[in-house]
Symmetry: C2
Subunit: 513 residues, 2 copies
């Protein structure tokens, strides 16, 4: 016993010397899936969808609007191009993608310990993206600012269950539209050392993202390595616009990753059926990924979907309902068969506050994304109101769910210790397991420990002020921001980044488009 | 067009004449699963658990406390019995169950249209069970009364997504313990016509349940048909008590169904690991189901689990976390391999109110139960606070989730209409689907319509009073109770039931045990 104690003391001393406490709290950079995916659709159904998608590509075609360069590229590759419409020979997109796009790739972080693998058996959890508003319990709903953006960068960095810094965590509405990407990229790089997403609102902003990444990673590193992942939405149905294409081109030419994401509210932007929606979004994704592979063969690309449905009474978007879950399961299977990484899911909801509706809807989508085999789970944390609002409290609540997803996907321990026959033998009928040797040994790692859930008695909860989950989350994010300390950065790199941002901003007028 | 309008008018006229509007709102009595289950564990792991469970049965044994009749039954069947401990020869339980227990059976309702199939490809959703408290937004948390019990019977009956009236919807604490089962059974029979669960707190109360069922269904109907399903909890670890055994015996001897349910908070009542917990609960379930099959070969039996975990800091029960989901998936697979129906799941949570915590936890468990292939989903609706409280608002919110489960399990429509190629063709790139022919045709059935979710704009929601999900649910259950009309019952049967209840009550002193 004494010897054992000495040894463990020594070990813990060594640990203190060698390990950064932040690193200990972030033991893994991303999830390695050790459980099967859920296969909703039969092989036959997947083949029907694949065939129908080829028919859409061949007979109906996809519009690539006002981008002569794209249209010429398709024409010279054997497509029928008329006006903006591109019709693809049957099987062409699949062949080009399968011959060129990587089935998995690494997105490097400026801290190599936080680089993530995208594709294969990996799952990367990413915060929500794109909301113009933020909400917290103290100040309610308001336009987002750069301070909010920086706060969410910091909260994401501190969370052990989010693996990626994300992109437009919220829109810093206090900064002109044509300049805010510079502040956002700087924030991701400076206040986090996890990987991040680039600007897509104009090709020159994509280029700024690439240029700033080159300051951090070095000019030539980007030639062979992915350090930026960016979100390219299709304008469903069956349309890509010039802005998105131009941004995607910049990233592809620089060998950086594009998530090609049909953005679909089924019933409005696709048919009212699951299979019809899957068919259309697959055709759109095939066309978009083909554009990337023709632009730069081998550039990393992710098949993305954002698919929900609408209320047939009001036309309003709805979330967490069964049909979008079906679409997600099927789209994930189509991505696997194609052999490219897949993006979907997240804590999607229509609710205006972090109430029961928000949680049911978010959990339904998170569970679906978890079991579908999503590789890049955008919108994991913070979403409210169909993405219009990023909520501080919901961010904390969703991130707790991200922790549970990490435990589940890490799989079942079937070792001798996991089988626990010694515990059942030791305790026997009618006794409890709290004090047995096996419980003592496994105490630390036994069960996922939620930071937000209140599991106390009713009386304790009442005496503590009857706080609901949203109120408890409010304290947590404030405590986190109060204890935030930035990751280190090389001073020269930081100065160069700041100089780049300043010179770019000085060179531009303030524009709000 | 005119001809079409005339025809549809005629059809709708015929419908009004032939169909009870209540029946139209309840088009199916239970869910027929048309999607695959999620298989978490490999064959190898399931075999390890089965083997280990046999070792528990053979070497450690199960205690059947203070029930000489049970002990003698096991002794004469070849078990080693010492004191209360029963040790089973390897493979004996499995063989007895597989040779005798039905893999699926029908539980008849007094209205044949509401009879349910339990097992196979069916899923039956059942409200929560057993809470001493109720809660609603107006009156907060308080002890439950018979009026509450009747209210939940009515709400369950009115819901198209709950297929079963359940059992102890809440404890009518205003009625003496030894009499309240009479009021509960009468309530299930009178205020609903869906199937129900029996009393298990004493063998004479089980017998009352059987006697009252015979008044409704006729003396001989019960000989060959199941009309009662009852919940028999094991006292984990590895113990059955005399009360539960005696109640189970009454039901088995009368050919009625028993749900044999190890009730486990892992870490306290089973090992802290998933595989250890599965091993123990499977051994307990095997022993309990063997007791039933030895008592009455062929009597319907359901393998039940109630498994959650505890907080290792406080010992408090926790819900909706990943480890219990793993246990649920594995237990369901063990039930399939054994060939018996499976009970688990529901909207389990530790929260004191119907907030985000309640919803995340409930949804995580509901989604797991949905995909695991649960046949009898007890606790689908209403649970709060680890089962201590039945909430009116949570009941409404969970039942909305039950509706989504029904849609999901009903499967993907892969018909020509489901494929919707005509819609994609008609609409084409850049347009919307709202007005196209296919959308018009499928408008009614297109997507699940939640009665609780608020999908309006922020401004609309704000102007409507910023109501959260719990507040909206409050209005719904009140509206339901206000419009409740009881199902018809034969006056003679009703009188006989009332007379039975009265004479039983008159013959008993008021006891609170």
């Amino acid at each position: 016993m004494a010897a054992q104690r000495r040894r463990s003391k020594k070990t813990s001393g060594r640990r203190t010397r060698l390990k950064d406490p932040f690193d200990s709290a972030h033991p893994i950079p991303y999830i390695t899936r050790r459980v099967p995916v859920y296969e909703l659709a039969s092989e036959e159904l997947l083949e029907i969808i694949e065939n129908n998608a080829e028919t859409v590509l061949e007979d109906i075609g996809i519009e690539f609007r006002d981008d002569e360069q794209a249209l010429e590229l398709f024409r010279s590759s054997g497509c029928r191009v008329e006006g903006n419409s591109v019709k693809f020979p049957r099987g062409m997109c699949r062949e080009i993608i399968q011959n060129n796009a990587p089935s998995e790739f690494t997105q490097h972080a400026r801290n190599p310990k936080r680089s993530v693998k995208i594709g294969g058996d990996s799952t990367v959890l990413v915060p929500a993206y794109g909301s113009p508003f933020v909400r917290d319990l103290d100040n309610g709903r308001r336009y987002a600012t750069l301070e909010d953006f920086e706060n969410f960068t910091k909260l994401t960095w501190m969370s052990p269950f989010l693996h990626h810094s994300g992109g437009t965590l919220c829109e810093p509405v206090d900064i002109p539209v044509n300049k805010r990407h510079l502040d956002m990229i700087y924030s991701h790089i400076r206040w986090s050392d996890k990987p991040f997403m680039g600007s897509v609102t104009a090709p020159e902003r994509a280029q700024d993202t690439v240029n700033m990444a080159k300051i951090v990673f070095g000019e030539s590193f980007l030639d062979d390595n992915c350090v930026i992942t960016s979100l390219i939405n299709a304008n469903s149905p069956m349309t890509f616009d010039a802005t998105m294409l131009a941004a995607a081109r910049v990233y592809a030419e620089n060998n950086q990753a594009n998530v090609i994401s049909p953005f679909i509210l089924a019933g409005a932007m696709s048919p009212v059926t699951v299979v019809g929606t899957c068919t259309q979004l697959f055709a759109e994704a095939l066309a978009g990924m083909t554009f990337v592979q023709l632009t730069k063969p081998g550039a990393p690309v992710i098949f993305g979907t954002f698919s929900s449905s609408i209320s047939m009474q009001s036309g309003a978007p709805t979330f967490g309902s069964p049909e979008p879950s079906m679409v997600l399961y099927i789209a994930a299977a189509l991505a696997r068969r194609l052999g490219v990484p897949f993006r979907s899911g997240g804590g999607l909801c229509a609710s205006k506050v972090a109430d029961a509706q928000a949680a049911y809807e978010s959990s339904n989508t998170l569970q679906t994304a978890m079991l579908a085999g999503v590789h890049f789970m955008l919108h994991t944390s913070g979403w409210l109101e169909g993405g219009l609002t990023m909520s501080y409290e919901k961010f904390i609540l969703d991130t707790d769910q991200a922790g549970m997803i990490q435990v589940f996907l890490s799989g079942v321990d079937s070792s001798i210790n996991g089988q626990a026959m010694s515990a059942i033998q030791e305790v026997g009928p009618g006794n409890h397991f709290l004090g047995c040797q096996h419980t003592q040994t496994n105490f630390e790692s036994a069960f996922y420990r939620s930071a937000v859930a209140d599991n106390t008695s009713f009386e304790q909860w009442r005496d503590d002020g009857e706080k609901d989950a949203e109120m408890r989350a409010n304290k947590i994010w404030k405590d986190m921001l109060n204890t935030y300390e930035p990751p280190s950065i090389e001073p020269g790199v930081n100065e160069e980044l700041l100089a780049y941002v300043k010179s770019k901003k000085d060179s531009l007028p303030d524009l709000n488009y």
